[in-house]
Amino acid sequence: MSANAAAHRSIEALRQDLSRRKILDRLFVIVGLIVMLACLMVLAVLFIDLVRDGAPRFGWDFFTNFASRRAERAGILAAWVGTSLIMIVTAVCAVPVGVAAAIYLEEYAPKNWFTAIIEINVTNLAGVPSIVYGLLALSLFVYQFDLGQSIAAAGLTLALLILPIVIVATRESIRSVPKAIREAAYGLGATRWEVTKDHVLPYSTGGILTGMILGLSRAIGETAPIITIGALSFIAFLPQSPIQSEFPFISFKWLGDPFTAMPIQMFNWVSRPDPEFQANAAAAGAILLGMTLLMNGVAIWIRYRFRKKINW
């Protein structure tokens, strides 16, 4: 009889153990949910806080005024124009080079040590702190190439910074194009470039666009590298206009002009002791954050659409 009782007791112990483990399991679900929601909340709090603090500054004047010593009159005209021009330079430099490098690595590169070196470099560059790019640009672009503290120098710096992002995204989307499509085109006598240009690239447009937008959304908020190359934070004039009234109508003189940018302007306002300027910083931050989130949203949407549309 006692053996039976012992067995009964051990079953009882097993049951208790099981229910304890199940409780732990449920507890973890709750903890996981709370942690996840807390992190998502941070994003919401961040945005609401910026909009609330910056509310008194929102208005047309904020976009059309230059920086000023008086907080309520200070605006972001020079900053948003500077940021837009820098983004143009960055996109024009980083996208073709990044896409070309990705095509090379996916479609052309032989499997050897040389290709391995390029691949390791791309991976490592993604891990280099952004301020180190600033140091590179300060010495190389600003002084060696004599670009000065200009829009061109800033655009090139950010282009180098986002190059790995563009390369990685493009490679991923090229890789997802099935081999059969390439084989079919080769079978009809197409050369490697014709296969790439007419078949692989059209199918991977979605991924390339996503990578480009994600890269630019990273570049738009980068502050440290362009502080390092010496962006001025107080600028009360605009770069020269790219469109001229006389022949040849288009001018590239703006590339050499000094500039300021949105994150620089925000940093300048944050670091002022006068609390009045914190409202300006918040308003600039809300716009900056809004643009970043918008770009990321568009990237996610494009990725989603292309994934849905293509059915191999």
Binding site: G32, L50, T191, G221, T292
Partner: protein, 307 residues
């Protein structure tokens, strides 16, 4: 008649042209690929060249053993230790936030959450890593620090604690996203084996999936560390810019990155020792990230599980 039969569809010269064009394009594409290699070489070369000018004035002994960093003062001292201490302190605080939170989220998303939740939450979470760092700096200075001061009234307005906490939040998505990828790569049959032995989901996650994905987790943590070490704007805004040899996160201090920003904001003449000092600081920063990456490489190799 027979001539017409043997006439090729494409003329020989057209064929030769297509081949030449392909060769030219391949060379162009290769050149684009080499930009990455040249960037790396340029970074290393420039940091070494500019720092070597710095080390002509400053001995290596002073640089590594000195405890004061005051290159911009009349009585200039060049001991890097305070900046390194600041960098390590903010990084440790950030990791104390990011590793537990990031891993918990990764385990939850990979082992517990329904498919739909995972697919929705992951991109939103990744937005947290896309927020401009200068915005996080504002957040740390105007929200986190006042909140901390409410808990600890003697906390100064600039401190490494609030900067580190915010950096931690910033790198949560890096850690969670990569960790989750690694955990999902653990094959299904290992989980099923564990369930068959009567283990719960949590036990399976902690004793089967996490050890199985360890090399991926290590890579995720290392990426987080690299980001935290190189983070600039949050510390420049919220931690103050005074070099301070301390490991107490409640104190204000400058990091390596904050020092570079501080110098860049001023107008130092090209070639002065202050100008050169930011390259020496940058070299140390790059070395620290390199060391962590080597450790990460070793860890992933050592603990890689082949399925």
């Amino acid at each position: 008649m027979s001539e017409a039969i043997y006439k090729p569809v494409i003329s020989r010269s057209a064929l030769r042209y297509r081949k030449l064009r392909d060769r030219a394009i391949e060379t162009l594409l290769l050149a684009a690929g080499l930009v990455a290699v040249f960037t790396t070489l340029a970074i290393v070369a420039i940091l070494l060249i500019e720092s070597s000018a710095f080390f002509e004035h400053v001995s290596l002994k002073e640089f590594f053993t000195g405890t004061m960093w005051t290159p911009l003062f009349a009585d200039a001292r060049y001991g890097i230790a305070p900046l390194v201490a600041g960098t390590l302190t903010t990084t440790i605080v950030a990791l104390l936030v990011a590793v537990p939170l990031g891993t918990t989220i990764a385990i939850y998303l990979s082992e517990f959450a329904p498919h739909k939740v995972r697919e929705t939450v992951k991109p939103i979470l990744e937005l947290l890593g896309a927020v401009p760092t200068v915005v996080y700096g504002y957040f740390a200075l105007t929200m986190v620090t006042p909140a901390l001061q409410w808990l600890m009234p003697e906390l100064p307005g600039f401190n490494m604690l609030s900067a580190g906490l915010v950096i931690g939040l910033m790198i949560v998505p890096y850690v969670s996203s990569l960790s989750e990828d690694a955990m999902r790569a653990v094959p299904r049959y290992m989980r099923e084996g564990s369930y068959a032995m009567g283990a719960t989901r949590l036990q399976t996650a902690l004793r089967v999936v996490v050890p199985g994905a360890f090399s991926g987790l290590a890579a995720a943590f290392i990426l987080g560390i690299s980001r935290a070490v190189g983070e600039t704007m949050v510390v420049a805004i919220a931690a103050g810019m005074q070099p301070n040899l301390t490991f107490d996160p409640r104190e204000p201090a400058a990091t390596i990155t904050a020092y570079i920003v501080q110098v860049s904001l001023g107008d130092l003449p090209h070639g002065s020792i202050g100008y050169q000092s930011i390259f020496a600081a940058g070299l140390v920063l790059l070395m620290i990230t390199l060391v962590f990456n080597v450790i990460g490489f070793w860890l992933t190799r050592r603990f890689r599980e082949a399925y």
